[in-house]
């Protein structure tokens, strides 16, 4: 059996990492700040702060997160940054964009906080503010919504085409070309839009836009 201390170190390598120090002393300029353009975000963080107000910084979210290995700040650090109102750092970081909504943190949070929803709330701010760093993810979701607004159901081929066009990167579609072809050969995706009928979701989209002033 592994000694407990070793287990702890293996399981939570980030607790002793430099990255950790950085997040805790975020008020001093970090490499991250120097190398990236400053992000200005006018949206209010208050609703997200409300969601994580009771966070006790236990790190259960970080230990449960399948994407933590690819994040620059751990989820636990992100919640601290949210509570400290460090908008720039939050939206410089790719942590919230890497949440894949597996709901492990939400399930396990000892304070019962809606952490996945808090991640979504940050994604929504990034989308509203059109922060260039998240352009790709935002384009992916926005073009998905464009497709369902048009047809009521998603047309996978149309929406991937819209997405690639929005990326303005001629190489982007290549990663999906062979899969797209395989799916087409199996008759699973079609080049034709699915419906000719009216736009069944148009009135809902319009009303939400009106209520929220924007989407």
């Amino acid at each position: 059996m592994q000694p407990l201390v070793k287990l702890f170190v293996n399981r939570y390598p980030e607790t002793i990492s430099e990255r950790n120090e950085k997040a805790f002393y975020m008020d001093t300029a970090t490499d991250l700040d120097r190398t990236n353009a400053v992000v200005t975000v006018s949206d209010d963080l208050a609703p997200v702060q409300e969601m994580v107000r009771a966070c006790i910084q236990c790190g259960t979210c970080t230990a449960s997160c399948p994407n933590e290995f690819a994040m620059d700040h751990t989820p636990r650090q992100l919640w601290r940054m949210v509570l400290m109102g460090q908008k720039e750092e939050i939206f410089q970081s790719k942590t919230f964009a890497l949440c894949s909504a597996c709901y492990y943190c939400t399930l396990r949070c000892p304070r019962g906080l809606p952490l996945t929803e808090a991640m979504d709330a940050l994604k929504q701010i990034a989308a509203r503010e059109e922060i260039s760093k998240y352009k790709d993810s935002v384009q992916f979701y926005k073009n998905f919504l464009k497709s369902i607004r048009r047809h009521g159901r998603v047309n996978e081929m149309e929406f991937m085409t819209l997405y690639f066009a929005a990326l303005k990167n001629p190489l982007a579609p290549l990663r999906f070309a062979s899969l797209g072809l395989r799916l087409m050969l199996k008759g699973k995706v079609s080049l034709l839009p699915p419906f000719t009928r009216k736009r069944p979701l148009e009135s809902i989209f319009r009303k939400v836009e009106e209520l929220e002033e924007r989407l």
Binding site: P66, A127, K142, R153, R175, K188, L201, L215
Partner: protein, 291 residues
């Protein structure tokens, strides 16, 4: 006769067509009637929640409101885990927060729809494990799979955040269904690990990492069974890329649960549309032909 309202969702009309057809074929063979919700629309997938919270609730609410018109059938069967969670979330939240329900109804009233909160959203696995169960399946088994070792993969959103029909940390609901076919279980701990969801489109390197770990955990099994079109696509579609870049043989057959159970019940590969799956290995095919 058991009856359910049926919400297939967008993927099941496209990339997950075989999930749709095998679910219908299996239910039909077990005497379960599925009535598709009229004019159903997209549940918002993971896109709406990433852009606007209100939109992410009103899109599923529209479908619930339509389903409520069919007053004699209260349960909506949903095979896609992402659709299931979105519909379930709208159901749960509007039950707990009457103000939210009023807000959504204000939007829905434009289409003369109203959500009252009388329908129950049920995942296909919930219906198969709880309503049908292994005792219904066992006597109908025509083809036994003694030589098969099967890895049940649950993914995330049918289990979390709402623990409805199974333990969200250590689920077992697929096990008695698999054992009812005579197959053995592949012991593994990857059944509840995330497949990366839409990361495959927006952060492919991260998605690939998660899928590779799941495929590695499944080695030794004959097939992985899934209950979600997104999990299925992620696990089956990138195997060549993963094997090539990692220089490792991680090829693995990935089937939808109703396809495997359907095979055991004697339904044909044609009815279950095994021709549409992307990663059935030659080894699996040979074994299947011999069983």
């Amino acid at each position: 006769m058991m009856k359910y309202q049926y919400y297939p969702g967008c993927s099941l009309e496209g990339t997950a067509l075989e999930y749709n057809l095998s679910t219908q074929a299996l239910m039909d063979s077990m005497g379960v009637e599925l009535i598709e919700i009229e004019d159903w629309t997209c549940c918002g997938a993971s896109a709406a929640e990433s852009i606007n919270h209100l939109l992410s609730l009103v899109l599923p609410a529209r479908n619930l409101a339509i389903a409520e018109k069919q007053e004699d059938i209260r349960d909506i069967l949903v095979p896609c885990s992402a659709c299931y969670l979105n519909l379930k979330k709208a159901q749960e939240k509007t039950q707990k927060e009457p103000e939210l329900r009023d807000r959504l109804n204000n939007i829905l009233s434009q289409d003369q729809l109203e959500l009252k909160g009388s329908v129950h959203v049920r995942h296909l696995l919930d219906v198969m494990a709880v309503d049908l169960g292994p005792d219904t399946i066992r006597p109908r088994v025509k083809r036994t799979f003694q030589d098969f070792r099967i890895a049940p993969y649950y993914g995330c959103q049918c289990l979390r955040p709402y623990p409805v029909f199974d333990d969200p940390e250590a689920p077992r609901s697929m096990e008695p269904l698999i054992e009812a076919t005579g197959a053995r279980l592949h012991p593994w701990s990857m059944g509840t690990k995330c497949c990366g969801a839409s990361h495959m489109n927006t952060h492919m390197e991260v998605g690939i990492e998660l899928v590779a770990a799941i495929l590695r955990g499944a080695q030794g099994a004959d097939a992985i069974l899934t209950v979600c079109p997104m999990c299925q696509m992620n696990l089956e579609a990138y195997q060549r890329k993963i094997c090539r870049t990692r220089n490792e043989d991680l090829h693995m057959t990935v089937l939808y649960l109703p396809q495997f159970i359907g095979l055991a019940l004697g339904l044909s590969e044609k009815d279950l549309r095994l021709d549409l799956n992307l990663s059935i290995t030659d080894r699996f095919r040979k074994k299947l032909d011999m069983s």
